[in-house]
Amino acid sequence: MKICVCLSIGQNPVSGRPRMAASDRVALELALASGADVTGVYAGPKSDVLTDYLGMGLKQVHHIDSARADIVPLLVEFIRSGSFDLVLTGTVTEAGLSSGMVPYLLAEELSLPLISRVVGIDARAGLTITQAEAGGKRRMRTGAGAAILVVDAKAVQPRLSTVAAQRAGEVITHPVVSDLPQLPELTSQPARKRSTRLKAGSGQAKAAAPIHTNLSAAEAAQTILDFLQAEGHVPALQSITSRQER
C-alpha cells in the first residue's frame, strides 16, 4: 500500500517558532504505524522543519517550492502523478488561513471519497478505517480504492523525531513554479481573548443541591442510577428504574 501524507509547517503557540504541526505529526504516525510505504509532501516556502518529519522515520519528503501560491493545484498534481492508495492529512494548519479546507478541496479535485475524524487504519484484510464519533464511540468503515483521510488530532500519540532517522531520510525539492495563482492577502489583527457569551438565565446562582445523609447503600445506588437516567447520561435500562423495583 502506498500512502501520501500532506505535511505543513506549524508554529509554536507561545514562541511562534516553526515546528512540526501537531495534527500532521499524528497523521504521519498513523501512516508509519500502518506499515505502508509512506511518502511525505509539503508545498510552501523552504523550511528546516522538514528534516524533523524525516526524523520520525519517513524516507522521503517532497518539497514543492511554491512561495505564497495556492497549494491545492500543486498537491493535486503531485498526488495524481504518484498513484497513491491513501492520502492522509491533519485537521487544520497552525499558520495561514487554518480553515481546514485543503483535504476537502483535494477530494473534490481528485474525485476521491473523503473520510474525516479518522483514528485508525487497518489494511490487513481489505481496508478498514476507524472514525471517531461523539462520546468515545468508533465507527468502522470498510471499502476499497483510493481515499482522502482527515486524521483526528487525538488518534494516536506521535513518535519522537530522532537524529539518526533525520540523517537517513532525504528532502527532494521540486523546482520553483512561477506564475501560480496567488492567495489574496488578508488584513488581520492579533486575536483578542474572548470569554463565552452570557447565556440566557445563566446569571442566576445555582441553588446548592441537598446532601443525602440517610440513604441506605441500595437507596443510594438507586438514586444515582435514577439521576443518570433522568439527565440522559445512560441509555434507558428497564430493570434499573425504581418504579419496577418497587
Binding site: S99, S116, G135, S188, P190, A191, T213, A220, I240
Partner: protein, 383 residues
C-alpha cells in the same frame, strides 16, 4: 343588628321559623333570643372561603396559561430571504442547535431562519427562533451531504449556518468544496452583517461581511431569550438522490471503560483515596460504559495509570457527567472537573468540598454503594 346573609333585612323582621333556622341547624335560634344575635355556622363560612380561594386560584392559573400562549407570534413573509441552520442528530456541543438559531437571528435579522434537522431535533424550534422547519433522516456524512445539496437546490437559501465541531464542520467543508461558495470558518464573534474569524491557528483574527456559509464556534453563540413564539412551519423534504458511500458503514463500537480516552468520554467514573473495592469500581464503569479516572492520590499509589489522573497536574476534562467515589475534592482536583455539567459525589464526609460542587451528593460508604450499583446494573443488563 343586620343579617349577614341579607344586610337589607333586619333580623327582627324574620319569623323565628324561617329559612334562617334551617341554615343554622347546629344552634337553633330560640324565639325569645331572635332579636339579639344571628349565628352563622363557622364551618360553612370556612368552606365558602375555601371554595372562593380555589376558584380564584383556578382563574389566576388560567390567566398565566393564556398569557403564555398570547406571546406575540413572529411571522416572516414568504418573500424574505431564507437562511438554513443545519442541525445534525449529534450536536457539536450541548445546546448547539438552540444557540445556532439564536445567533442566526442576530446575524440575519431580516431572513427567515429554517432549522434543517437531519436526525433528531435537539431544541424547541418554536421558542428557540425557527421560522421554518425541515426534518430529514439521519445518515453518514455522505448521505447528509446529498440531503443538503437536494435541500439547497429546492429552497435556494441565501445563507447556511453550521456549528464548528464534529459532523457539522465536516458537512460545511464538503459543501464549500463542492459549491465554491464563500465561507467564514472558526467564527468567534458576530454582529449584524459582520463576522470575525480566527486564522493562523487562533493567533490572529479578521472581520468580514457575512458570507453565504458560516461555521460558528461555541464562543460566538448565544440562545434567544424566549420573548416571542416563532412559526416553525414545516417545509417538505425534497427527493434526495442518494449516492452509495464508497466506504460502507460496518457498525459502531463502544470502547471499553479502560480504553476510552478521558478527553472524549461523556460519562466518567472516578475514584479517590476513599475507594478500596476496585473490582466493583471497574465493573460499574464497564456497566455504565463510562471512562475510568482517579485523583492524584490514587494515581500516585499506582492503582490507576497516570493518563487517568484528573486535576491540575493531570487532565482537565469536559465530560457531561462525573461520578466521584471517595474523592474529597481538593481545589486542584475540582479545577480538573470545572467544565463538567453534572457531578455526583459519594463520600463519607458531608463537609468535603466535593459535596458542595456536586449536583447529587450522597453521604455513604463508596464500597457499599458500588456493590449495590453493580447488582442493579447486572439486573439491568440481564433484562
Amino acid at each position: 343588628m343586620s343579617n349577614r346573609l341579607n344586610p337589607h333585612k333586619m333580623l327582627g323582621e324574620i319569623a323565628p321559623t324561617s329559612g334562617l333556622r334551617r341554615l343554622n341547624r347546629l344552634a337553633p335560634l330560640k324565639a325569645s333570643t331572635v332579636s339579639v344575635v344571628a349565628r352563622v355556622n363557622p364551618h360553612n363560612e370556612y368552606r365558602a372561603r375555601l371554595r372562593r380561594e380555589l376558584r380564584q386560584a383556578d382563574v389566576v392559573h388560567r390567566q398565566t396559561v393564556s398569557a403564555q400562549s398570547r406571546k406575540p407570534l413572529h411571522v416572516v413573509a414568504d418573500s424574505a430571504p431564507l437562511a438554513f441552520v443545519i442541525g445534525l442528530g449529534v450536536e457539536a456541543w450541548a445546546g448547539a442547535e438552540a444557540e445556532l438559531l439564536g445567533t442566526a437571528r442576530e446575524i440575519l435579522p431580516e431572513s427567515a431562519i429554517a432549522l434543517v434537522s437531519l436526525g433528531k431535533i435537539n431544541c424547541t424550534p418554536s421558542e428557540d427562533g425557527a421560522d421554518r422547519l425541515i426534518e430529514g433522516p439521519a445518515g453518514l456524512e455522505e448521505h447528509n451531504f446529498d440531503a443538503l445539496l437536494a435541500l439547497v437546490d429546492e429552497y435556494k437559501p441565501q445563507h447556511l449556518i453550521f456549528a464548528e465541531g464534529g459532523h457539522s464542520s465536516d458537512l460545511a467543508r464538503r459543501y464549500v468544496a463542492r459549491t465554491k461558495a464563500e465561507a467564514a470558518f472558526n467564527v468567534v464573534q458576530v454582529r449584524a452583517g459582520q463576522v470575525t474569524c480566527l486564522i493562523d491557528g487562533g493567533k490572529r483574527e479578521f472581520t468580514r461581511k457575512v458570507p453565504p456559509v458560516i461555521a460558528l464556534s461555541r464562543i460566538a453563540c448565544a440562545k434567544l431569550d424566549a420573548e416571542m413564539l416563532y412559526e416553525a412551519r414545516p417545509l417538505a423534504l425534497p427527493e434526495i438522490a442518494a449516492t452509495d458511500a464508497a466506504f460502507k458503514d460496518a457498525g459502531v463500537r463502544v470502547a471499553s471503560a479502560r480504553d476510552l480516552p478521558l478527553s472524549e468520554a461523556e460519562l466518567v467514573v472516578s475514584a479517590g483515596a476513599g475507594l478500596t473495592d476496585w473490582d466493583s469500581f471497574h465493573a460499574v464503569a464497564e456497566g455504565l460504559s463510562a471512562a475510568v479516572a482517579g485523583s492524584r492520590v490514587v494515581c500516585d499509589a499506582g492503582s490507576l495509570p497516570r493518563s487517568r489522573q484528573v486535576g491540575a497536574s493531570g487532565q482537565i476534562i469536559e465530560s457531561r457527567c462525573y461520578l466521584a467515589f471517595g474523592i474529597s475534592g481538593a481545589p486542584q482536583h475540582l479545577q480538573g472537573i470545572q467544565a463538567c455539567r453534572h457531578v455526583i459525589a459519594v463520600n463519607t464526609d458531608p463537609h468535603a468540598p466535593m459535596m458542595k460542587r456536586a449536583d447529587l451528593a450522597i453521604v455513604a460508604d463508596a464500597q457499599a454503594v458500588l456493590k449495590e450499583m453493580q447488582l442493579l446494573l447486572n439486573k439491568g443488563g440481564a433484562a
